[in-house]
């Protein structure tokens, strides 16, 4: 078990390294003009531009730059933003913003899980009946229509009808509701549809038939066997989902003026804020990759079928 965790951990590290290296080098393909604003460029002489590039650590051998970046990371220095928040330490930017994204993201995940699972169960239990159709309708609307549209309509209409603020105010609790719920909508659909599918799949399994033939009441079969087994594959994705909430939701954060991490990456790329882009990509890929890693570990823990190398084989023969 420990050997397995170490091995998976090592693999994850390698993947993170490749991702960050790839992005680092891609950023170097961007034209240097991007580091200047229009006014600057007019005002600055060629030398001054060079001075500026040097001062933000852009000129020189990209491999050397990468090395410096890594050695900075090693001592916990994420560097400073160069154009998005000039000179502001990146760690402090992230610390400041991640809190918001995390708070909204976690509440949204909570809501998605509770409502998504409830909806999924309801749909599976009433397969091909009204509840199922309504649930499917919801899922279809959420998944097929670009989110921008319905999120926008929710913001304008629902806030108007309920008289809630249109943007988020940290000190007005009701202003949290709409963004959180909006953020949860796709999650609810996701959980509902997969749980429904897994439950329906489970229901056709031989062991469910055997459980029924043992005379277990339907409710017990549903909770004790079907739901339990159907939920297991969903659990695998939970760590990734939780970790990635830190990354925030671009659309919702921008619509509700939530100062989270959501739009920061896009903005940073467009501003060619290399240190910030690198830090964010590093952060997100670490979260994503380690989410997968944790998901795998979690599966090993909850699914007895998954045997790991290095663990002794039990199971005798007749």
């Amino acid at each position: 078990m420990r050997a397995y965790i170490l091995k998976r951990f090592g693999e994850s590290l390698v993947t993170v390294f490749i991702v960050i290296f790839a992005v680092f080098m891609l950023m170097r393909f961007m034209p240097v003009e991007g580091y200047f604003t229009r006014e600057d460029f007019t005002e600055m002489t060629a030398e001054a531009r060079q001075v500026y590039l040097q001062s933000i650590g852009i000129s020189g051998n990209p491999f050397g730059q990468f090395g410096r970046f890594l050695s900075g990371l090693a001592v916990g220095d994420w560097g400073r933003s160069i154009t998005v928040y000039p000179k502001t330490p990146i760690a402090s930017i992230i610390a400041e913003k991640a809190g918001y994204s995390l708070a909204f993201g976690l509440s949204a995940i909570g809501i998605s899980i509770v409502f998504g699972l409830a909806l999924g169960i309801a749909m599976a239990q009433n397969k091909d009946r009204l509840v199922d159709s309504l649930g499917t309708l919801y899922v279809v609307v959420v998944r097929a229509i670009p989110s921008l549209i319905y999120l926008f309509l929710i913001q304008i209409w629902v806030s108007g009808i309920l008289g809630w603020p249109m943007v988020f105010y940290a000190d007005v609790p009701v202003s949290w509701i709409l963004p959180t719920v909006s953020m949860a909508l796709p999650g609810i659909a996701w959980y509902a549809i997969w749980l429904r599918r897994f439950m329906v799949d489970e229901e056709n399994k031989d062991y469910i038939k055997f459980a029924i033939s043992k005379g277990l009441p339907r409710k017990k079969v549903m909770t004790g066997h079907v739901l339990r087994n159907a939920a297991v594959p969903l659990v695998q994705y939970l760590p990734t989902q939780i970790l990635l909430t830190i990354a925030g939701s671009l659309i919702i954060e921008s619509m509700y003026s939530i100062p989270g991490l959501g739009g920061l990456l896009v903005y940073a790329i467009r501003q060619q804020d290399n240190p910030l882009v690198q830090a964010l990509v590093l952060l997100f890929s670490v979260l994503g990759i380690f989410g997968v890693f944790l998901g795998d570990i979690l599966m090993v823990l909850i699914d007895p079928r998954i045997k790991l190398e290095g663990t002794s084989r039990t199971g005798d023969h007749v």
């Binding site: 034209p31 001075v51 003026s257």
Partner: protein, 619 residues
């Protein structure tokens, strides 16, 4: 309506684009300017008529030829921190010297320095020595040694309460420089404590000398400024707190206003129109014009050979100039009175007054353009175009000296020219819908005036950064841009057009490979005007510059800044007024009511204000 005239404690408004830094020496966006203008004081400031009045300086005296300016500071003024508590630091003359030392060091990356680089004595040499040291060009001098020579720069503290600026040449309008971000004070002990790089990246990392202090700053969310109860002028700081929310969507902004969450909102023309019939109908009014000027400017070095051949032809430029209906174009912003937005001079009106109080734009040579308004004249335009075509083509539609071939203007555009009419012309714009709409309208107008067999407008779009994508790599034929008027002198505008890297590309710097001084007359005119130090003579000379540029139709101004629909609870004309520096962002003296003002009332206030204003300016 007496209920509507109660003043309120709080002013709520929004900002759309994220403020990057609040380092007040490095104002990168208007939000930061709003914060700096209110949380820091300069030596001088402008009153609500735009007159310079004392601020942290109690009084000042220029010497006879306006080359040395001495300022006497108010005593006993303390820096306050982000809780509004006075610190032990007093605001002294040294703080102004330190502030300037900070901006003069290229390592601090201060961007506006070029506007004073040739104004303050000794600054040019000091600055470039440091640049060369940093760039490795000067090896025999250390940075420390160079920094030690700051004494040669013309900014000195004569005593704790006296600052003296020494200038390179007589500058009667020097006060208008002093309200730029370059002339803020900073407390050295505090700066050393937080480190120069950390100045202004958090509310704790600044001290405040202005009428407000920054009591809250959440990036991408909220900026709150609270009245500084220890400011010398606190009685004139009428609103207790200024709350600025980040809201990027104008639709949301309007909604928030209508729901009473904001004190004022800017509206698009369409939004304004949509309010017709609503309770807000009679509350929408238009803001005054500002010193910002919008113009179309062609690229005189286009990689597109067809356009390049034509744009150097005066008749062609004039054809363009007369071919676009400015009024209709501005209907996008104001369908009722688009004319009111037109600005047809390069230097804005109401900004430069000579010693007799005469406005630069009333000088002969400028006034004719100011009075002309919309130049649109399709017949004339077609005539000019015909002339240009006659001059530049062989009569069978082939453009002389232009060979067919591909034009690589990637990523903006990519096409081939055939060396024949129609002329391909790349008009670039951003991805924003406003900018795109304008581009489409421009295209439609060109087609309307000239038909599509003479000029074919190709639309090219840059994603983000005009400079990186279009202007610097010269991948455009035509675009619009806007210039803010930086200080009270025509050179603020002409300098940027004519000098190195300017839009007209009349570089005289021989090191630059794009050295194409194609109008020696203009260059000489600018040099001559810049050398004049008496305002009236100076203005007369610059008026010739303006006339020359306009006659040749090098650039096509079309709109003044401002002039947006607004709906607001703030009473206009209660705040300081001024077109340059940070004045227009000040909230000092602002009166905010509990109900939006009606347009009628604003109109009354406007009339009253300008009556008074005109009395004051007509000395």
């Amino acid at each position: 309506q007496d209920g509507g005239s109660r003043t309120v404690d709080r002013y709520d408004n929004t900002y759309q684009v994220e403020v990057k830094t609040l380092n007040y020496f490095l104002l990168l966006d208007t939000t930061a300017q709003r914060v700096a203008a209110n949380t820091q004081d300069h030596l001088v400031e402008q009153d609500r008529f735009g007159r310079f009045i004392p601020s942290l300086a109690e009084s000042w005296t220029p010497n006879a030829d306006s080359t040395v300016w001495t300022f006497k500071l108010r005593k006993g003024q303390k820096w306050v921190d982000h809780t509004g508590t006075p610190t032990t630091y007093e605001i002294t003359a040294d703080d102004f010297v330190e502030g300037f030392r900070y901006v003069s060091d290229p390592a601090n990356g201060i961007r506006n320095i070029s506007s004073v680089r040739n104004v303050i004595k000794g600054l040019y040499d000091y600055y470039y020595t440091l640049v060369d040291i940093d760039g490795g060009k000067i090896q025999d001098k250390t940075r420390e040694a160079a920094l030690a020579t700051f004494g040669t720069v013309g900014v000195k503290a004569l005593d704790a309460y006296t600052v003296e600026y020494t200038l390179t040449q007589p500058t009667p309008f020097f006060l208008s420089y002093l309200i730029m971000d370059l002339f803020y004070p900073v407390e050295k002990a505090f700066l050393d404590a937080v480190g120069p790089a950390n100045l202004g990246i958090a509310k704790e990392n600044m001290l405040y000398s202005g009428g407000y202090y920054l009591s809250d700053w959440q990036r991408d969310k909220l900026i709150v400024m609270t009245r500084n109860e220890h400011n010398w002028d606190k009685d004139n700081i009428t609103v207790r707190s200024i709350n600025m929310q980040k809201v990027s969507d104008p639709t949301v902004e309007l909604q928030m206003f209508m729901r009473g969450e904001l004190s004022s909102a800017l509206l698009s023309a369409e939004q304004a129109k949509a309010l017709e019939g609503s309770p807000f109908q009679d509350k929408v009014y238009m803001t005054d014009l500002t010193s910002v000027t919008f113009w179309w400017h062609p690229n005189y070095q286009s990689p597109n050979p067809e356009f390049n051949a034509f744009i150097r032809n005066e008749n062609f430029r004039k054809a363009l100039y007369y071919g676009i209906d400015h009024e209709k174009f501005l209907s996008l912003d104001d369908q009722v009175n688009p004319k009111g937005l037109i600005r047809s001079t390069i230097i804005p009106e109401d900004q430069c007054f000579d010693e007799k109080g005469r406005d630069f734009t009333d000088y002969p040579g400028v006034k004719e353009f100011k009075d002309r308004g919309n130049p649109y004249n399709p017949a004339k335009a077609r005539e000019y175009l015909a002339k240009a075509i006659a001059e530049l083509t062989d009569g069978k539609g082939s453009i002389r000296g232009v060979t067919a071939g591909p034009v690589d203007m990637k990523p903006i555009a990519d096409f081939s020219v055939d060396g024949k009419l129609p002329i391909q012309m790349v008009y670039v714009h951003t991805t924003s819908s406003k900018s795109t709409t304008e581009a489409l309208l421009f295209q439609a107008m060109m087609k309307d005036t000239f038909g599509d067999d003479t000029i074919n407008v190709v639309l090219g779009q840059f994603v983000d950064n005009a400079y990186r994508e279009a202007i610097l790599p010269l991948k455009y034929d035509m675009m619009w841009s806007s210039f803010r008027f930086a200080y009270a002198d025509p050179m603020a505008q002409f300098g940027r057009l004519v000098t190195d890297g300017g839009f007209l590309n009349m570089a005289v710097d021989s090191s630059k490979k794009t050295n194409t001084l194609f109008d020696k007359t203009l260059y000489d005119l600018v040099q001559a005007a810049a050398a004049e130090t008496v305002l009236s003579r100076r203005y007369a000379a610059f008026a010739k510059v303006e006339k020359h540029i306009q006659d040749k139709a090098y650039i096509m101004p079309y709109r003044a800044g401002g002039g947006s629909y607004t709906i607001s609870r703030m009473v206009p004309y209660t705040v300081p007024r001024g077109g340059f520096g940070v004045t227009r962002f000040k909230y000092k003296g602002m009166i905010v009511e509990s109900q939006p003002l009606t347009a009628a009332r604003v109109a009354e206030l406007r009339t009253a204000f300008f009556e008074e204003f005109n009395k004051l300016t007509a000395k």
